[in-house]
């Protein structure tokens, strides 16, 4: 009986991971891709995306859910890159310059985001999501209208032909894969971007250290119960803002790493899908809104992206249309996010109900509402 129950619990706990694994494994064969190719793609994508996904961890510790506002940091990183291209700073120096320039912007953005989310406690996720849209409007205003007219841009090559506004696509020739190629390790048929992995490993160490620091402990206390944390003397609002600021700055760096690997910058769209991919990845890795670990991130990136590699071709083979594969992977991405949010909300509701059950008679209340 208890064995059956714990098995059931295991399935609900890891429902998302299991479903995902099954779909991915099932589509490998029809895609016709070789295992070597898939593994190589995976190694590249691990370097490209992990940093961005790791940026989601701190707000989860702080109980703020999935930080859809990470897009703000991504935009800051893109502004940094635009200037690195403008001043023609190439190589790793270019990336470092972009990061240095993006950092103060993402600090500010993170503070704004944290302050906004503090005004929307209990609905941080949807608010962060809309905030990203809102700031996207401001980003477009700055990049499309102010750059080249108010903000000096010295390189005419990156401007639109009308004289102001940045081009839709920027070639990141100077910094393309400069981090990845800094220390490329060849291992049989595979190429491993060791420098990128090292940066990611450093970030992991930082997160492990941070969790144990005083601030990290406070953050988890806030995430566990804001009221209790507040009573024990933790500055709740400030701690939440710090979590978001760090996440935003990390997202800024993460986006720079992502884009140096991609090699070009879709000036007005590159950040559109950032939070979608990152959030889908961490959830696929078995994280929930309240609980996430570094292994969740790594497993999630590998699983999500292996599906992304195989699904267009599998769609082509199975249905005769690559579009179906494309739609299918978006469907899976959104579906995974929806499913994990539903499972989590459902489970936490059941737990509150169970808690109420045990108090029955003392307080008969209505259905719990998020307030």
């Amino acid at each position: 009986m208890s064995g059956k129950r714990s098995l059931g619990r295991f399935f609900t706990e890891y429902a998302v991971v299991i479903i995902f694994l099954v779909i991915t494994l099932a589509s490998i064969k029809p895609s016709g891709l070789s295992l070597v190719y898939i593994v190589q793609e995976m190694l590249i994508r691990l370097g490209r995306n992990s940093f961005l996904v790791l940026a989601l961890l701190l707000p989860i510790y702080a109980g703020m859910g999935l930080n859809f506002g990470m897009t703000l940091g991504a935009m800051a990183g893109q502004i940094g890159l635009i200037f690195a291209i403008n001043w023609n700073i190439s190589g790793v120096q270019g990336l470092a310059f972009a990061a240095l320039l993006g950092m103060p912007i993402s600090l500010l953005m993170g503070w704004v985001c944290g302050a906004v989310l503090n005004r929307a406690k209990g609905r941080e996720m949807v608010t962060g999501y809309i905030l990203a849209y809102f700031i996207n409007g401001i980003y477009q205003f700055i990049v499309l209208y102010l750059m080249g007219s108010v903000i000096p841009i010295t390189s005419p090559a990156i401007l639109l032909s009308r004289g102001y506004g940045i081009r839709n696509t920027l070639n990141l020739e100077g910094v393309r894969q400069s981090l990845d190629k800094l220390l490329l390790l060849r291992l049989g048929p595979f190429a491993l971007p060791m420098a990128t992995y090292m940066v990611i490993a450093l970030l992991c160490l930082f997160i492990i250290w941070f969790r144990r620091s005083k601030l990290g402990q406070d953050m988890r206390a806030v995430g566990h119960d804001m009221a209790v944390a507040g009573m024990s003397g933790i500055a709740v609002d400030q701690t939440r803002i710090v979590a978001i600021i760090i996440s935003t700055v990390l997202a800024c760096f993460g986006q720079i790493i992502f884009l140096q690997n991609m090699g070009n910058l879709a000036t007005y769209n590159a950040h559109d899908q950032t939070s979608f991919f990152a959030v889908a990845a961490i959830l696929v890795g078995g994280a929930s809104v309240k609980k996430a670990t570094i292994p969740n991130v790594i497993i999630g990136v590998m699983l999500l992206h292996s599906l992304f590699v195989v699904s267009p071709l599998a769609g082509q083979k199975l249905f005769g249309s690559a579009m179906i594969g494309e739609y299918f992977r978006s469907f899976i991405g959104y579906g995974v996010i929806a499913l994990s949010l539903v499972l989590y909300a459902w489970r936490s509701r059941r737990e509150t109900e169970r808690a109420r059950e045990s108090l029955r008679g003392a307080a008969a209340g209505g259905a719990p509402r998020g307030e």
Partner: protein, 347 residues
């Protein structure tokens, strides 16, 4: 003085700014040679085009389910109705109302399922609605390619299957409501009487519904679920009814929109549609737990007015197209404002 300040706080600064901005646009229009009469006709038209969408927000806000970011389910039902009606080759009023009739069962079914889901996740409705809606839209993207539609007006010419991204409703039910009893006042000014009547009728029905026993119970659930339950109202049932209602209105809304706009937009087009409706009702003065018919009318008018006037006036004045950026900032700014406002009902 205090009264005035109270009034301003109630109405909200963003709304006042948007209103003044719109007035300014209308005043400025003649100076950049934009015709006022054509603009007003345009605003009226788009007001009607989007009115039902905005109306669809009301039931769920009233029942405490928050902003319906999952309006996409209604839109999907409406698209199914529209494409089926065209597949059957129905024209004119039969085509349009037939589409509504065909969409209704889908809307009720989807709304019922969606409502059941939202009842299981109280407190997280909005984020979940958004993502479930996205997933639904992407799922339908696959379906539009696979469903066995055959009408040559709808499928890709060379493949002979799979629906096109945009399908014209010309020859079926283009402007069927707009042109019904339309009054032509001048060369550029036509009042789309039928359209406005239809939207008015929907709003009136909603107004009446909110005053019936079920409607009052629904509002009670939204304003105080504990009290509502104590007085014997089934909270979950009321919420489900509100979601179904919202979904059906979403289906009708997309059909009204299409007959005026002229095209059925499939695939990823419905992804962002709910956001526009959400923004509109918030601009109209609704909060995330209270909405009235006045909010619907004011919101649809202000939001659509803004969308119509900014491209024409700002572009003529500055010689650049800033309308898209303004739209993004205003509509999302409005939603953000509503989400971050410390509402009295909350906590």
């Amino acid at each position: 003085m205090r009264n005035l300040r109270q009034l301003v706080t109630d109405f909200g600064w963003p709304r006042i700014i948007i209103f003044l901005f719109l007035v300014l646009l209308f005043l400025g229009a003649p100076f950049v040679r934009v015709r006022i009469d054509a603009s007003i006709a345009d605003v009226l038209n788009r007001f009607g085009q989007n009115g039902v969408f905005v109306l669809a927000m009301v039931p769920m806000i009233q029942s405490g389910c928050g902003l319906n970011f999952g309006l996409s389910f209604g839109i999907i039902a409406g698209l199914l109705g529209a494409t089926l009606s065209m597949q059957f080759g129905w024209h004119g009023f039969l085509g349009f109302f037939g589409a509504i009739a065909l969409a209704a069962p889908f809307a009720v079914l989807l709304g019922w399922l969606y409502g059941k889901l939202l009842n299981k996740v109280k407190g997280e409705e909005m984020t979940i609605a958004m993502y479930v809606g996205f997933a639904g839209v992407m799922f339908m993207c696959i379906m539009w390619l696979l469903l066995p539609y055959t009408s040559p007006n709808m499928v890709w010419g060379y493949a002979g299957k799979g629906l096109r991204t945009t399908i014209t409703v010309e020859g079926y039910w283009l402007r069927i409501l707009n042109d019904f009893l339309a009054i032509r006042v001048g060369e550029f000014f036509v009042i789309p009487t039928g359209l406005l009547l239809f939207v008015g009728l929907c709003a009136a029905l909603m107004w009446l519904f909110l005053r019936t026993k079920t409607g009052t119970a629904m509002t009670a659930v939204g304003s105080n679920p504990i009290y509502a339950r104590a007085s014997g109202i089934s909270v979950d049932r009321m919420r489900t009814i509100s979601v179904i209602l919202s979904t059906v209105l979403g289906a009708v809304g997309i059909l009204v929109y299409e007959q005026s706009f002229g095209f059925i937009q499939l695939y990823t087009a419905p992804l962002t549609m709910p956001l526009a409706a959400v923004a509109a009702i918030l601009i109209g003065g609704a909060s995330i737990n209270k909405a009235s018919m006045l909010n619907v009318v004011v919101g649809a008018f202000l939001f659509q007015g803004l969308l119509t006037m900014t491209p024409s006036v700002i572009n003529s004045a500055l010689q650049t197209d800033m309308s898209e950026v303004i739209r993004i900032i205003v509509s999302n700014g409005m939603i953000l404002y509503a989400l971050t406002r410390k509402t009295k009902a909350a906590s």
